[in-house]
Amino acid sequence: MTDKTKITLTVNGTGHAIDVAPRKTLADALREDCGLTGTHLGCEHGVCGACTITVDGAPVRSCLMFAVQAEGADIRTVEGLANGPDLSPLQQFFIEEHALQCGFCTPGFLMLIDGTLKQSPDITDDELTEILSSNLCRCTGYRNIIRAARRALDHARTTTEPAA
């Protein structure tokens, strides 16, 4: 059980050579072994979505995936969204729309939306709401998150410029 495996995780473009037990989840490996604590755990049973990251572009619940399964994949977390001091348009819209309060669910929502932006930027409002309903937030009542996500989708479709 404590036998560890050496793996390399590629997170936000950077390789992390780590030793993990086979039962270690990707979420725990990111937080504990890669030092990336922006990914949060809200339920550890795959329902709340706080741990959402993208793996090869698709949103994934990192509490439901083992670290060893992610070797070789392109893993993206909230820490990789901003470009140095420049926030991504999505992050900027979250601030402008007051789409976060305690911020605990926020990385999961950002990565869920980021994955959606890349996979299916043309979705309707109803489809967007449906996608967002896979993550939980106790603070905001969601409406501002929906607004920020909508702006990010529209922005992604209409421009390649970063948000002002």
């Binding site: 059980m1 404590t2 037990a21 039962r23 937080r31 990336l36 604590t37 922006g38 990914t39 949060h40 755990l41 809200g42 339920c43 550890e44 049973h45 329902v47 709340c48 706080a50 977390t77 909230v78 820490e79 969204l81 901003a82 926030l87 992050q91 979250f94 601030i95 402008e96 007051h98 976060l100 309060q101 305690c102 911020g103 605990f104 669910c105 926020t106 990385p107 950002l110 709401t129 449906e130 967002l132 309903s133 896979s134 993550n135 939980l136 937030c137 106790r138 603070c139 905001t140 009542g141 969601y142 409406r143 501002n144 998150i145 929906i146």
Partner: protein, 777 residues
């Protein structure tokens, strides 16, 4: 320039949005150990033998503590006295850190394993063999207070922890003279707070200095420090408690928990950092919950719909231990008649001990239940009198000409309740207008043609905010000219830091980037923390006072140096300048702070007390009452009992707003929680009080898909009881929601004569109500 009233972007956002927040589990503790608790599988059982041998042999295990082991580490006692005092309490129920002989709820911590990793600690906790004999439990709240009920604690005489009430006016005469009497039995269920981040604590001893540093995801670091010092018998200056970024609080994190004490004690004993982070299942089983109440109530009205009296009984689920006191049922009883003219009122409250997780405030704290009951009674009275629902309310609401309006009720401090300000009828009118209440019948008709059944409902509420007595705020201009604000107020994710920056900044240069905040500061000996929608009001009042004092000092020193009158100067950003002059003459705050410190052998520059610093603890005894009116429009499916909320329109008044966008955010979050209470969130227990809802898969939280569009109309009637005219708003959204939705569902089904008297109104519950109505016609 004032920043109060502007929607300043939150100072908290940037680090949170980039993944650089620092929540409890993000804090590194090199060499640290991990803890897991063995939790009771029984709602009530006596504890016999414990065999640790198998668990101790598990990999990674460093130590295991049972109740006896832990008691030895707690020279100041092994119980947590966290209850607020009340003479109505019949017997003490202070919770043990770990119980030795008897466990009284499923999830109660019984033993603690410390191991190298969390997984190892959890594995070993499972391997502890604890021999227990199950004891009888009362299955429901009503059973718990019935004659001959099995006591929730073996040595307790019965389960009636407290019987108290409210009584004024001649209630029986009011009912004798009434043109109409309406009544109901109302059942509100138990739910959780479910901050997305659970509880957690990290304790790191410094064996050389003999100090202990604690980080806890708590709303009240000061309270935790007090308990730690007492139970560990440590001096105040050897313990620091820090609340890192909180992933939400919503009530349960306001009480000090056994886990926090146990982790601190074991870390100290082992001389190494120990961490425990609650998982969701533990949150379901052991974080405090609220809401379950059983009401029987009736209302007497005259022929014109004026309320003559309200009377009834309330059984309140207290859970297994006294973790906060009688504040929740007290708030319920006090709130019920508060905003309407109720000339006579009698409520008998019975607080029932049950074999369930202790009950303490969850966002709303007893107020949603009382609002539910009062508003349900008013809907019934409207039917009885033939008045519309809005008209009967209008006739009974306290009117603005009577503000401030003393009520024949007392706060728990014994002071009379005074509604401080507000125009309740105007707020209701604003909600009706915003929701196009008058146009609803046309919408109903149009929907009916499409085979859809719509309903509309409303509920008024007041929210008691700004619980005193005070919060400490220290404002200081540091030597480098930066403004330091330290306070006992604690952040739990709602942005109180931004609020204080706006208030302080308004007096000291209006540049938020120059202000450094320390929240939840336990180096300051006096403080409380976050609960009861209090911090903007009470910390805001102290911040305002402290900032003004410091401003006056800054200007005096500057005037002295510049040889100008103080009223010719102003603070702009990082410097003091001459009003209306472009001479370019100015002094930086850093220069002024340096001068204000004084020089050996010289007189202070224009001030009597050195330094640019002020500490204020503005005492506010009364409460600031926010008010509002919520209109809900719903669609109901009669066949399935499914309710869909189409729209929520809230008109409200929380006094002067510091940050309107943040006010909207608080309201929206509260509405979502209230929507959960109205339709979805329900802790389900079996006959043995075993929780059946232990994950988000079976306890349903509102998601983006259920949350309807929300309209919010603000009005701002300043509160006269604090200098800025503020009122709290953190719990506003949650209070009227279940009541307004119940009203709307009843309206949608009015042709069927269905009465709604439960929350949450699950599809099964609504179907049962529909079937019952069909059977009785």
């Amino acid at each position: 320039m004032t920043l109060v009233g502007t929607s300043l972007p939150r100072i908290e956002d940037r680090k949170l949005i980039t993944g650089h927040g620092r929540y409890l589990d993000d804090i590194k503790a090199p060499g640290g150990l991990h803890a897991a608790f063995l939790r009771s599988p029984y709602a009530h059982a006596s504890i016999r033998e414990t065999d640790l041998s198998a668990a101790l042999a598990m990999p990674g295990v460093v130590a295991i503590y049972t109740a006896a082991d832990l008691a030895a580490l707690l020279p100041g006692g092994d119980r947590l006295a966290t209850g607020l005092p009340s003479s109505a309490i019949a017997f003490p129920l202070d919770r043990p850190i770990l119980p030795a002989r008897e466990t009284v709820f499923v999830g109660e911590p019984l033993a603690l394993v410390v191991a190298t990793t969390r997984a190892e600690a959890e594995d070993a906790a499972e391997a502890i063999e604890m021999d227990m004999d199950p004891l009888p439990v009362a299955a429901t709240l009503a059973d718990a207070v019935a004659e001959g009920a099995p006591p929730a604690h073996l040595d307790a005489p019965h389960n009636k922890l407290a019987q108290f009430g409210f009584d004024y006016g001649n209630v029986d005469a009011a009912f004798a003279d009434a043109a109409h009497i309406v009544q109901g039995t109302y059942e509100i269920d138990r739910g959780g707070a479910h901050s997305l981040e659970g509880r957690g604590v990290l304790a790191a001893p410094d064996p050389i200095g003999g100090r202990l540093a604690i980080w806890s995801s708590t709303q009240t670091p000061h309270a935790l420090k007090r308990h730690l010092c007492r139970l560990l018998d440590m001096a105040e200056d050897t313990v620091t408690v820090t609340a890192p970024d909180l992933g939400g609080g919503f009530g349960p994190k306001l009480v000090t928990y056994p886990e926090e004490i146990a982790i601190a004690a074991t870390a100290r004993a082992l001389g190494r950092p120990v961490r425990w982070v609650e998982d969701r299942r533990e949150h379901f089983l052991s974080a405090c919950q609220e809401r379950e109440q059983l009401w029987q109530a009736e209302m007497a009205v005259d022929a014109e719909g004026h309320i003559l009296g309200v009377r009834g009984t309330l059984i309140h689920d207290h859970g297994a231990w006294t973790a906060r006191g009688l504040n929740v049922p007290y708030a319920s009883g006090m709130m019920l008649p508060l905003m309407y003219d109720v000339p006579a009122y009698r409520l008998d409250i019975c607080v029932a001990v049950t074999n369930r997780v202790p009950v303490t405030p969850v966002r709303g704290a007893g107020q949603p239940q009382a609002t539910y009951v009062m508003e349900r009674l008013l809907d019934a009275a409207a039917r009885a009198t033939g008045l519309t629902r809005e008209e009967i309310r209008r006739r009974n609401l306290v009117t603005p000409d009577r503000m401030p309006c003393p009520r024949p009720l007392l706060l728990r401090s014994g002071l009379p309740v005074v509604l401080d300000s507000g125009d309740y009828p105007a707020t209701q009118a604003a909600a009706l207008e915003a929701s196009d209440w008058a146009g609803f019948e046309a919408r109903r008709e149009a929907a009916r043609k499409d085979g859809r059944r719509l309903g509309i409902g409303l509920a008024n509420y007041v929210e008691g905010t700004g619980r005193g007595p005070y919060e400490t705020v220290t404002v200081r201009v540091a030597r480098d000219g930066r403004i330091k604000v330290n306070t006992g107020a604690a952040a739990m994710g709602q942005g109180v830091g931004t609020v204080l920056v706006q208030i302080v900044g308004s007096h000291l240069g209006a540049d938020p980037s120059r202000i450094d905040l320390t929240l939840g500061d336990t180096a300051e000996p006096y403080g409380f923390g976050g609960f009861n929608s209090r911090q903007t009001v009470v910390a805001g009042a102290s911040a305002e006072a402290a900032a003004k004092t410091v401003r006056a000092k800054v200007l005096k020193v500057a005037a002295h140096i510049m040889d100008l009158p103080t009223d010719g100067l102003e603070i702009d950003g990082d410097r003091v300048v001459i009003k209306g002059s472009n001479s370019g003459r100015s002094l930086t705050l850093a220069e002024i702070a340096g001068a204000a410190e004084g020089l050996p052998g010289y007189r202070l520059p224009g001030i009597d007390v050195p330094g640019l610093m002020a500490t204020e603890r503005v005492v506010i005894d009364g409460m600031a009452f926010a008010n509002g009116c919520l209109v809900a429009e719903v669609e109901v499916d009669v066949e399935t009992g499914l309710v869909r909320v189409e729209r929520l329109e809230l008109a409200h008044d929380c006094g002067r707003m510091v940050n309107p966008v943040m006010v909207d955010g608080q309201i929206m979050g509260g509405l979502a929680h209230g929507l959960g209470n109205a339709l979805y969130e329900k802790m389900v227990f079996d006959e043995e009080n075993q929780p059946l809802t232990g994950s988000f898969a079976d306890y349903l939280m509102v998601t983006a898909a259920e949350m309807p569009p929300v309209g919010i109309v603000h009005s701002e009637t300043p509160s006269p009881i604090n200098a800025l005219g503020l009122k709290g708003v953190g719990e506003s959204g949650v209070i009227p929601t279940a009541a307004a939705i119940a009203s709307a569902v009843e309206d949608a089904l009015k042709d069927l004569g269905v009465t709604i008297d439960t929350a949450p109104l699950t599809p099964a519950a609504l179907r049962a109500a529909i079937v019952a109505a069909e059977a009785s016609t």
